[in-house]
């Protein structure tokens, strides 16, 4: 059977989640691999959530927020950037393939970008194969 990656997506309510909504309204096609979790702001996404998702066997984790300057709470996404940069580095050191984690700025009008990112990410994960941390719970 073909491997279908399982992506946990954290999407900010004001931009990326609206972008995903738009992708739906536009009837854009993208793989059904992503499970979106809506959060008030990407600045609310704790690195702990990402690590926990990976440790529990998610094949990939996508974090989506507003572009700089667009944040509903002014500087939430700057905090996201300061954390995610470090998350990328640290999960690599902990032995997780860097390709399993991705963070993107996707605005409410970028439904197209959302669909592209998910499609691309799914392809990357298909190449990587299942998360070795899957199972054993």
């Amino acid at each position: 059977m073909e491997f279908k990656p399982n992506i946990v997506g954290f999407a900010c309510h004001w931009c990326t989640y609206a972008g995903a909504d738009l992708a739906g309204s536009l009837r854009l096609k993208y793989p059904p691999s992503i499970k979106l979790i809506r959060v008030p702001c990407s600045g609310r996404i704790e690195p702990e959530y990402i690590i926990q998702a990976l440790a529990n066997g998610a094949d990939g984790v996508l974090v989506g927020g507003c572009h700089f300057g667009d944040c509903h709470y002014k500087d939430g996404n700057y905090k996201t950037a300061r954390r995610m940069k470090q998350v990328e580095e640290m999960i690599k050191e902990l032995g997780v393939e860097p390709g399993r984690f991705r963070w993107e700025w996707i605005s409410g009008s970028e439904g197209q970008k959302f669909a592209e990112v998910v499609t691309e990410f799914t392809e990357t994960l298909k190449e990587l194969g299942p998360n070795p941390l899957k199972g054993g719970n």
């Binding site: 600045g43 702990e48 300061r82 470090q86 580095e89 054993g136 719970n137």
Partner: protein
Amino acid sequence: MADKLKFAFLLAGGCAGCEMSLVDISEKLVDALEHLEVVFWAPTVADVKYKDLEAMPDKSIDLAFVDGMIRNSENEHMVKVLRDKAKILVAFGACATLGSIAGMANMHTKEELFKQAYQDTFSTDNPDGVYPTPEYLLDGKYDLTIPEFLPEVKVIDEVVPVEYYVGGCPPHPDFVAAAVEAVIAGNLPPASGKAVCDVCERNPRNQGTDRFLVEEVYRTSEKAPEDGVCLLQQGIICFGPFTQGDCGCSCPKVGIPCRGCGGPIPGVKDYGARAMSAIGSILGSEEAVEQLMQKYPVLAKFYYRYSLPSSLIERKKRAIKKG
């Protein structure tokens, strides 16, 4: 007088610093001995052997402390034996609870570790490249064995269930005494949940001033901290905001940033990730983050200094290996 409480203390893979801390409570320990009967304190203090512990009836020890992590097969075996004999088991100190400094070895292979310890260190003279092996035949007739070096460091609660945890590297003598007294009185309070910052005099909130974002990061060797000013505000990265503060904030008090030996405050699932989250939001710009990553080149060792073996990913990796 009522029966004395039977007490045991086992050193697993630690450095015996926790024992020193227990001895450091001095007169209070003498007072406590009126209520305690030390039935086992090895391999450091009392002259009891492992086989004596093995011979004791199950659940005959009222209170047992274990310090140190699981590093070799001997540690693992003795912790299991102690668990069977003890009614209450306390993981004592940072190694037993979180894995501590030696836990960082989990980022290296056994070969790397042995090469460093038995070959590359400056004071080592080992021209024949002799490494320890679990079994060795001496002179062709003496069959010698030593405990086997396990592939990774484990924490105590991965091997056996644990009733209570005491953090600290080592736990401060004052709160060792408090813990022993509380156990004797049968009155163990829940963890205070107060972070190091809560009890820190340098905390801007405790001084009634505002916090600002940090633009420059310094290592401790690069800057002498100013008195009475928050270390984080000075750019010296301190782990006070998310570390249990029962130590009374002893390090920041004397200008040394907290490194998290007290363990996480309640509600934290993964110490390093939470640390990164807090530090990430205190830094004022991406340049500051770049600087931090340059000055601390291995982030995992920085954020998980005392807690790597107990991190979610590490635990999961071992759980899968075990099958």
